[in-house]
């Protein structure tokens, strides 16, 4: 080993360590502050306690908002997955007039019309429809934003399913409904699971749309309540915010671990899964 090699090796590991620290340090607070008897903004070894957890559970809106998140994301996820599955199957197997143009426009829409770029008309639309403060309405808006990409990801999955399965079932006299229920659905299950997780994670972290459309604090999901808690300021909130952030992050991290364990971390047209 030449000295130059040793220096390069050390430099290499120092670089990796610096990058690792850059990514890890901001997150470690999420593991320490929730259980610290005197939580602060900085990272430090905690004086272990459960009292912050108890305080968070007693907060008037903390658990409600997590429940609201569940309702909001549940509706958005189910609508996205069901509608995308139907559309993806049909677009994969049947040549509807204008299909290619439709697919091109969907791909374009999925990246061009973001919630940010369209926040004004979406807000005005919901205001005029009287759907401000409607969780169902907000869930539909979130679902529409995810639908074009979801259709695309699912269509990729369905395209990969061999047509011979359906053909055989047809030969043996299965009706279209039976083919869908007993042949297509079971094979498409990994794709559907991917879309379920993907849309849930996206909806769970969506801040802008619920922030725009749900102005009533009793209806706000966790994403919006976290900001409200922070805006109120004061040291009292340092007992609630860390635990709340942790509770709010757990579902996403758990789903991520589940997916990467079962299917490996996969890439779908540049979309996190």
């Amino acid at each position: 080993m030449t000295p130059g090699f040793v220096v390069r090796r050390i430099g290499f590991y120092v670089l990796v360590a610096v990058v690792l620290a850059f990514f890890a340090v901001p997150m470690l607070w999420l593991a320490s502050a929730p259980f610290d008897a005197r939580p602060g903004l900085g990272l430090r070894w905690p004086d272990w306690t459960w009292s912050n957890v108890t305080a968070t559970f007693q907060h008037p809106f903390a658990l409600t908002s997590l429940l609201n998140s569940l309702v909001l994301c549940g509706i958005a996820t189910v609508v996205t997955t069901a509608f995308a599955a139907l559309a993806a199957y049909s677009l994969s197997r049947v040549r509807i007039p204008g299909r290619d143009l439709l697919l091109y426009l969907l791909l374009l829409l999925s990246s061009v019309v973001t919630g940010t770029a369209a926040m004004v008309p979406i807000f005005v639309l919901m205001l005029q429809l009287g759907l401000i403060n409607s969780q169902f309405g907000t869930a539909l808006v979130i679902a529409s934003g995810m639908l074009p990409a979801a259709i695309f990801i699912l269509k990729d999955f369905v395209d990969a399913v061999p047509r011979s399965y359906e053909e055989s079932a047809r030969v043996f006299g299965a009706s279209p409904a039976q083919v869908l229920g007993h042949v297509v659905l079971p094979i498409a299950r990994p794709g559907i699971a991917t879309i379920l997780v993907w849309s849930f994670v996206n909806a769970w972290g969506n801040f802008l749309l619920p922030f725009l459309l749900l102005r009533d604090v009793g209806k706000q999901p966790a994403a919006v309540l976290l900001r409200t808690l922070n805006d109120e300021g004061g040291s009292a909130n340092l007992t609630v915010i860390p635990v709340f952030s942790l509770l709010y992050s757990i579902p996403v991290v758990a789903l991520y671990l589940l997916v990467s364990k079962r299917y490996g971390f996969r890439f779908h047209g540049g979309i996190k899964s």
Partner: protein, 293 residues
């Protein structure tokens, strides 16, 4: 009719259209209609409250003319360009590639650890990561201040744009890392070996051997992360555009004009710029995809 299109389940065109209809209905109402409506609201003086709320008047191109003469709007366009260029085009792109390049050669356990943290930064909910960075960068006890032994500096207030750029690099590098990791796997190992044998330095290898293979990926990656960064609303959670408009990127400006000042027509005219920018990037991106297919 290609085999790929044969209607194997026997759905028939009518049922097929009925299957697509619910999705298209939602997309039409909440995505296509708002996008087109932006054009109309943008040429009116529509406001959230007051007389112009009940009876908006068409004012033609007035909103666009005032936007182009509005120092706040021009400031915001410049900041957005800086944000996209600094955090996505340079920051995420370079760090993502460096990570993918470095992690090829390390022990699997170390590699998995680094990747896990980088990915975690990407998948945690936006409001949580915004708060984490708010904590890191705040004065009187923030971790960054403690590390530098400088607890008096409020980083988000004194260096708002630098803070946002560093934050967004942290937040989004995972995507570039994943993309470049899979791109690097496609570079022929024999060429890398040859480069090593002729004594090429790391930089020469990257420039002359690796880059020609991944040029398409670099372009794809840059387009996508630029689009996402330009449309990112998380800066609102960190600085809300402040202090004194110094970090007011376009999404934040649109929100403040529309919801805080109530100038819906004017904000809509500004949104149009973002929509057109997205459209241009998306069209280039789709062209690239087609050429490769």
């Amino acid at each position: 009719m290609r085999a790929a299109d044969s209607d194997v389940a026997g759905l028939g065109a009518t049922r097929a259209i009925a299957f697509v209809a619910p999705a298209l209905l939602l997309i039409g109402v909440f995505l296509v209609f708002p996008a087109l409506w932006t054009l109309y609201i943008g040429i009116t003086n529509y406001q959230l409250t007051g007389p112009a709320a009940a009876q908006p008047r068409v004012v033609g191109l007035d909103n666009f003319v005032s936007a182009l003469n509005d120092a706040l709007f021009l400031n915001s366009v410049g900041l957005t360009a800086l944000f996209v260029f600094g955090s996505a085009v340079i920051g995420q792109n370079v760090l993502g590639f460096v990570l993918a390049w470095l992690l090829r050669r390390v022990r699997p356990s170390l590699r998995r650890t680094v990747e896990a943290f980088v990915l975690l930064a990407w998948i945690l909910p936006g409001p949580v990561v915004a708060y984490l960075w708010f904590a890191v960068l705040s004065r009187d006890g923030g971790t960054f201040g403690l590390l530098l032994n400088d607890p008096a500096t409020a980083w988000l207030v004194e260096y708002p744009m630098v803070s946002l750029i560093v934050f967004n690099i942290w937040r989004g590098t995972a995507f570039s890392m994943l993309l470049y990791t899979s791109a690097l796997a496609a570079v022929p190992p024999t060429q890398l070996e040859t480069a090593r044998l002729v004594g090429a330095s790391g930089w020469q290898t990257v420039r002359d051997v690796v880059f020609p293979h991944i040029r398409g990926h670099v372009l794809t990656n840059t387009l996508l992360i630029s689009l996402w960064t330009a449309n990112d609303f998380t800066p609102f959670l960190l600085t809300a555009g402040g202090p004194n408009h110094r970090s007011e990127v376009l999404p934040v400006l649109i929100y403040r004009q529309a919801l805080e000042s109530g100038q819906l027509g004017y904000a809509s005219a500004m949104s149009l710029l973002l929509l057109v920018g997205n459209l241009v990037i998306a069209l280039v991106y789709l062209r690239l995809l087609r050429r490769r297919a």
